[in-house]
């Protein structure tokens, strides 16, 4: 095999397989906890409460019912 072919093969493997390995490990590391309160964003969501949802949902419901 030529040097160029070997280089391209290794580059492709590095990027694609490396990307796969990295994303699998990342996903395992950032596995979501079952407890909702552990998530920073979801915690804030709980603090915001349901009352903030009202206006948007009424608008969306009206829009869809037309």
């Amino acid at each position: 095999m030529t040097i160029e072919a070997i280089s391209m093969m290794l580059l492709a493997m590095l990027i694609v397989w490396g990307g796969l390995l990295w994303s699998v490990l990342y996903l395992r590391k950032h596995k979501l906890p079952d407890d909702v309160s552990n998530s920073d964003a979801l915690h804030t969501l709980a603090q915001l409460g349901e009352e903030r949802l009202g206006g948007f949902m009424t608008h969306r419901a009206d829009e869809l019912s037309q």
């Binding site: 160029e4 796969l20 964003a41």
Partner: protein, 524 residues
């Protein structure tokens, strides 16, 4: 809150994130990974093609995959339901995606049926010394291009078997059927394929094949058609833009990590393609070695020709070729079945949403109709010709067209990309910046438009495959017209009365107001 609880209870979800991931990978890894990518890469610059391919993956494939996931997860429904929730009568966009999936599945099942037949043919060495003649004359009994009602029984029975197997799994629902099937089939496919590829590496001439595959032709990078081929390959390969990923993501529970999940699915698909390229070209290298010619002199290195004409020839030459043949066609069968299930799920899910069918009833009704179309158009003596033309048209015009319209509508019609980006960031440990809006809303549609126009122009000016004009009209443009008709009919049909209130009372997991508040606090 009660309404939300009822809404959630009504829609089945994947039992685990892994279940969704495996199904998404199973959908992406299909026949195209094995028989399309290696040949396309070789014809478009070899090793150099990998550069536009990886650029396309990162700038269009993954962003569009995220776009589909976001639509499905935020609007929690099949493609028509999602677009109905976004914009009323624009549910027609979803129905066109469903129609495209329906057309594809009718012929995709036939190719899987051929693969099933070839598992047995491999064991017997049935093609003898002339695999081309065996495939076209003895097996498919190919006639001149025209409409035919002469059903080929050798295709009919495996085709019926494929439909029954697939529909049984889908009739069992998401967790017991689709998820379980993918959890069995995908690891099996990976193991079988790896065994096969490792075997090919030890064949004489394998190095020459790999060398031919990876040797870069740098001049190819200056050709626009090479970049178009790379972006096309990524779109077709990742199953984006025609409802599959929207449907799959709609079965995700609220708590999911969308970003990394999309990356795993995309990189797993590309990893499989690279492995397939190595395996296919090792085998072609062996063939060239045995024939005393160069790899560049071998013909039939993509698609149906590669799998059912060239590979059988190689299998006959190879020591232990029968076993290799069985593994190869088993791989094709498994890859095809998992992708076929995802296509049917797009249609089945839409029927369940709009007409209130159960998974079983939907699979049964849909199965009978699709099976009938499969048999009528693709298991006859005209099947190969019809399949070739329909496949080209539905891919070139159908998939590209609907992917473009969908992204344009969401981006410019509803100006919704920001909402989707916030939704993704809320449900992802990887943050997607404004660059995602740029590549999804501007770069991707521009590329899709260019590819679509170039393809349609080429079809109009130069025709396709030397087929007669009437045949092209009947099966090429005809299937696009049928897709439009199906879209119109199913959009106009009324929603099942017990489901209709859900459309009006639907609530996203988090409202835009909430997401915007979180963004202001710097948390998204």
């Amino acid at each position: 809150m009660i309404r939300r609880a009822a809404q959630v209870a009504a829609r089945e979800t994947w039992s685990t994130q892994l279940g969704f991931l495996v199904a998404a990978i199973g959908s992406a890894i299909g026949l195209g990974n094995i028989w399309r990518f290696p040949g396309v890469a070789y014809a478009n610059g070899g090793g150099a093609f990998l550069i536009p391919y990886l650029v396309a993956l990162l700038t269009a494939g993954i962003p569009f995959l995220i776009f589909d996931y976001a639509l499905g997860h935020r609007f929690q429904g099949s493609a028509p339901t999602v677009f109905r929730r976004i914009g009323g009568w624009f549910e027609s966009l979803g129905w066109f995606q469903v129609a495209v999936s329906f057309v594809i599945m009718t012929y995709y099942a036939v190719v899987v049926a051929w693969s099933v037949s070839y598992i047995f043919f491999s064991a017997q060495g049935a093609w003898g010394s002339d695999p081309v003649s065996f495939f076209t004359k003895d097996y498919l009994q190919v006639s001149a291009p025209s409409f035919s009602l002469n059903v080929v029984s050798a295709v009919l029975f495996p085709l019926l078997a494929v439909w029954v197997i697939v529909l049984v799994f889908l009739g069992l629902g998401i967790q017991r059927g689709l998820e379980r099937a993918n959890k069995i089939f995908i690891p099996l496919l990976v193991v079988i394929f790896l065994v096969m590829v490792v075997r090919t590496l030890f064949l004489p001439g394998a190095t020459d094949g790999i060398n031919a595959f990876f040797t870069p032709n740098w001049a190819a990078l200056l050709r626009p058609d090479v970049w178009v081929a790379a972006y096309s390959q990524i779109f077709y390969s990742l199953s984006v833009g025609f409802g599959i990923m929207i449907t799959y993501a709609s079965y995700l529970p609220r708590r999911v990590n969308i970003g990394p999940t999309a990356l795993v699915a995309a990189f797993a698909n590309s990893s499989f393609e690279i492995v397939a390229g190595i395996g296919v070209f090792s085998t072609l290298g062996f063939m060239a070695h045995e024939a005393g010619v160069g790899v560049q002199d071998i013909e039939g290195i993509t698609g149906v020709s590669l799998s059912f004409m060239t590979f059988p020839k190689i299998i006959s030459m190879m020591p232990g070729g029968h076993v290799f043949g069985i593994l190869f066609f088993l791989s094709l069968t498994i890859a095809g079945i998992t992708s076929l299930m995802s296509l049917i799920q797009v249609v089945s899910s839409a029927f369940q949403d709009k007409f209130g069918f159960s998974a079983t009833r939907s699979a049964l009704i849909l199965g009978l109709v699709a099976m009938f179309c499969s048999v009528l158009f693709f298991s006859t003596t005209n099947g190969l010709n019809a399949l070739d033309v329909v496949d080209n048209w539905i891919n070139s015009v159908g998939i590209l067209g609907i992917a473009l319209l969908s992204v344009l509508y969401v981006t410019y019609g509803k100006r919704m990309l920001r909402e989707l980006r916030l939704h993704i960031n809320f449900h992802s440990s990887i943050r997607f910046g404004k660059w995602w809006i740029f590549v999804t809303g501007l770069l991707t549609p521009a590329i899709l438009l260019y590819i679509l126009l170039a393809t349609v122009w080429s079809i109009i000016t130069t025709g396709y495959g030397g087929y007669p004009h009437n045949f092209i009209l009947m099966f090429g443009w005809g299937c696009v017209v049928i897709a439009f008709l199906l879209t119109a009919i199913f959009t106009l049909l009324p929603w099942y009365k017990k489901r209709a209130p859900q459309l009006v009372g639907y609530q996203p997991w988090e409202s835009l107001t909430t997401l915007e508040a979180l963004e202001k606090e710097g948390k998204l």
